[in-house]
Homo-oligomer: 577 residues x 2
């Protein structure tokens, strides 16, 4: 490959693009890798396409090495199979739907569990056809409420989705482990520092799932680690260790006038000031905060739900949604319509709506909480005696220092990451729905169990840029760089000619070359552009050309070394190893 | 590459699929290359995906060799740019439209002239940035009224679309010629026998265009050649040579009672029987047939239009639509609502609707035609005297033997083909609309002129299958076959092991190998499957394995030769040369 910048569709920008909030987005636009074409839609320019192609090739190669077989499904599908599994409704607004000329409903498939399962049903008959690992690489469409960060979260993106079918639980676990190892290898080859964290399965359904997060400040996902053990989880998946239930020792519930205390802080201050219940050491964690939310179940009437949690915690709606998925959740704000819900003074006693409590609200715990009358609170409101929640819910924010739910000894630390992969043990959700049965080794019918495995390919490009840049520009890992070497002709005529000759020689040796042969651009601009573009290795053909020397520059370390022109090919070939 | 049939997702079918009308569709389904997933939507199974990937790679390579730069645009685009050019409306029902969650109109772009032109406007500034040749490879969606033939015409297909921008007419012509040559090279490499024919531009707009048609009985396009010169054109693009206008010598128009003659045949019979106008040699070509159609202009009220043509010709609605594009045309059938249009007795005299005539209806020609009264016709109805058409139209069917419009000496011959490529000189339609101007060499603004160039990649797979099969199955050209060699282990155990060993050795040598290592399948079934799958070369590891021999089979010629096992790699490597 020999690309010439004199003809390349490339325009680098000195100024920051106005709509770019994250470094990868800014740099990919400034360096001419991508360009905005539509809301949440980006065009890959030639250099961006080359990077995406290299990322895709690595993923494809590793999937095949793991026994994957590549297929390609239509993206535009009729509604029917998605109605059968309920996902037509569950996906809600995220789904792009399309009516054809006859008015028939179609969707742009977000993922293809239904279709792969129907194909497997169609094309298999017995245990001899299993296990199966199938994948495709396809453009996906999602009607995101908020797109973000260029390729990070768009309405259209390239995805590798894979589906496995095994005949036993042990088989699924083995395939899942192989895919997990394959993903680690893929992300390592892509140069992505990543964490593997426990996750919740969301609209996919199924039992176990893990996310691969590329660590990045700008990541939308927060994940926790433990200071002692190797526990790692998406905050949505963090479970709160419940203390043991205790015997009731508290006196009877007592109601107090607490005017003007709709907030926890004002309540605690007043409780200590008035020594409610004879105590002056009230803390926010002694109070029970009751938050009302509206749960939007797909295809059903919204539900008003109350959530109780220790007063020192905020509700984390992402965690609530993870539990209630596929429903979405918003804060309830129509208190005028519900006189039974006294804003700021709600208690769990005699609530007329469903009430779910934090796992820490175990039987026997006594709380300072609302009395369901304006300006009044109650002390010694005891779980299991004065109220009984309809269930528990992981709704409270996770905080650094919280106890580790895995080992119990360590404390949680928190970091941010970009979700670049997600693997699921789906089990038989889909094979059950479509009644997929094949002949087992014992002559009886057996139902395959399923896994699914996704990688966001275009998002991976953004994640790589996020992890690999400095203040001068992009610094691509050699495995995905748009070229192996960037030859800069510092001056005109002779130097351009020498640069092109060198480029042709390297290209013949199988090296991917970009030559900056622009005749009317200064050396300074060319050097700045080379640093912005971030190809790992530059060769400057400049002042010392006449003496037979070129300068090698390392984009990452910024080191410069002079080498005889004749040695350049050898040095680079050795480096590419 | 080493594929093992024991684990490959493959199920060959002995019976014909019920819904398949054309050979390529039947064979691609039977051989397990594709499978129906939705109306007009096919899944590429592993072998089908491999063929499509090889086709794509050839196209990509030739496009880059021709100076093309690959980019990738979103497929889901906002309506606005397509409103500006009018194509939102012009495309009509073929366009899949999508509303996002905010109710904003989007489309699944059929082609990207608008977006490429806006990108070029955004990223260029002066003559130094030109010429430009950009392309992408993308899944396209079209809401076809009638899908057909598996991959031949689906609602979703893979397309390579390219766009060129030049600063002069001469530049466009040069680029167009380069793309034309590139396409010839591509289709030759794909093994596609093809014709290049003049075409009409349709909804693309622009001046000159040519289609590449893969010759095939089942093709939807009919094209003509000349027995003398090298003229070739799609029937839609055939022009009818107009005879010179003549002086009026005919007597005055005379009306006759002609009861029960609504058809041309009945009219001619009666005219001869009654010697109308003193003649008994009336032929259909002496009559003027007037056909009423409804023209559906996008975004406007339907228009009722009459078309006049010699009575020995039928109207070809595809030709009419090619002229009236982007309008669509149907036969008018609501004569009850129009008492002025007397079905079977319409004449061009005093018509109240627009009337377009065949080019043969030149001034001075006299016709036997309807008198606009039931049961009456008129003789000596003279063009230019008794009626004046509102214009001419190419509406008449083209027939073998018609005079060649290019040389005038030859006669037209007719064949059928599958449209696999289309190239257009668009000119400035799009750069005018978006007012794209760049700095010219003389310091003045210059407006780029545009070409566009498409290849249907998934359709090309079907066209190849259409041209390359026999009664036993597919016969892939070596350039696109899913594998280079198909090794058949005729028996069990030792032969399977030997086949896999040979396969591994060939694979290490860079040969793409499919091994039939199925343990429970008979040799006969394996041979039948090998012929159905159509990989160019088979190696049978069978009876003479113990003596160190294998059998080579040529799929096309069905020739068999025995060679020492040790020579197999050498023979195949030489063949792949």
């Amino acid at each position: 490959m020999l690309l010439r910048m004199s003809t390349l569709l490339l325009k680098t920008l000195r100024e920051e693009p106005a709509d770019a909030e994250v470094p990868s987005h800014r740099l990919l636009v400034r360096a001419g890798f991508i360009r905005r074409a539509a809301p949440g839609g980006y065009t890959l320019l030639p250099l961006g396409k080359l990077v995406l192609d290299r990322v895709t090739a690595i993923v494809q190669e590793e999937m095949v090495a793991a026994g994957g077989q590549e297929v390609s499904f239509p993206a535009l599908l009729p509604r029917e199979p998605y109605d059968v599994t309920g996902r037509w409704t569950e996906y809600g607004d995220l789904l792009f739907t399309v009516k054809d000329r006859r008015g028939v409903d179609h969707l742009l498939a977000p993922t293809h569990e239904e279709m792969f399962t129907l194909l497997v049903q169609d094309m298999t008959g017995s245990y001899r056809d299993f296990p199966l690992l199938l994948f495709q690489i396809q453009t996906k469409f999602r009607d995101e409420a908020r797109t973000r960060g260029g390729l990070l979260r768009g309405r259209e993106f390239l995805m590798k989705d894979a589906y496995s079918y095994d005949l036993s639980e042990a088989g699924l676990i083995e395939t899942y482990a192989r895919m997990r190892a394959t993903y680690q290898r893929i992300f390592t080859r892509l140069g992505l520092e990543h964490a593997i964290v426990s996750a919740v399965s969301g609209a996919m359904g199924g039992s176990a799932s893990e996310e691969f997060l590329a660590t990045a400040e700008v990541g939308e996902d927060t994940f926790v680690g433990c200071t002692v053990c190797d526990y790692a989880a998406n905050t949505e998946a963090v479970t709160t260790p419940a203390p043991p239930a205790r015997a009731v020792t508290a006196p009877a519930l007592a109601v107090h006038d607490t005017p003007g205390t709709p907030s926890i802080a004002s309540l605690v201050a007043l409780a200590n000031e008035r020594a409610l219940g004879g105590r002056t050491d009230w803390a926010a964690s002694d109070t029970l905060k009751n938050v009302v939310v509206t749960v939007h179940h797909p295809g059903r009437e919204p539900e008003v739900l109350a959530i109780g949690l220790p007063g020192d915690r905020e509700v984390d709606l992402k965690r609530v949604e993870a539990v209630l998925s596929p429903a979405t959740v918003t804060m309830f704000d129509d208190f005028d319509s519900r006189p039974d819900l006294v804003k700021g003074y709600i208690g769990p006693q005699n609530l007329k709506i469903r009430y779910l409590a934090d796992p820490r609200v175990v039987p026997g715990t006594a709380w300072l909480t609302g009395a369901n009358e304006s300006g009044r609170h109650a002390t010694d409101v005891v779980a299991g005696r004065d109220f009984t929640p309809d269930g528990t819910i992981e709704a409270a924010e996770v905080r650094p220092g919280d106890p580790c739910p895995a080992c119990g000894d360590g404390a949680l630390t928190m970091r941010r990451g970009i979700e670049i992969g997600h693997i699921f043990q789906l089990g038989r959700r889909y094979t059950d729905v479509f009644k997929v049965d094949v002949l087992g080794t014992d002559g009886k019918a057996v139902r395959p169990t399923m896994g699914c495995y996704g990688i966001g390919l275009s998002r991976a490009v953004a994640a790589i840029a996020e992890q690999h840049h400095d203040e001068r520009g992009l610094v691509w890992p050699a495995t995905v760089a748009p070229a192996d070497v960037h030859i800069v002709a510092a001056g005109k005529d002779g130097q351009i000619e020498a640069a092109l000759t060198l480029g042709a020689a390297l290209s013949r040796a199988g090296i991917r070359v970009l030559v900056d042969d622009r005749p009317n651009v200064s050396a300074g601009v060319k050097f700045t552009d080379a640093e912005l573009l971030g190809i790992p290795r530059s060769v400057v053909v400049g002042r010392r050309l006449d003496e037979g020397y070129a300068e090698l520059r390392d984009r990452r370390t910024l080191e410069r070394t002079e080498v005889p022109l004749a040695d350049v090919a050898g040095v680079i070939t050795r480096e590419l190893g």
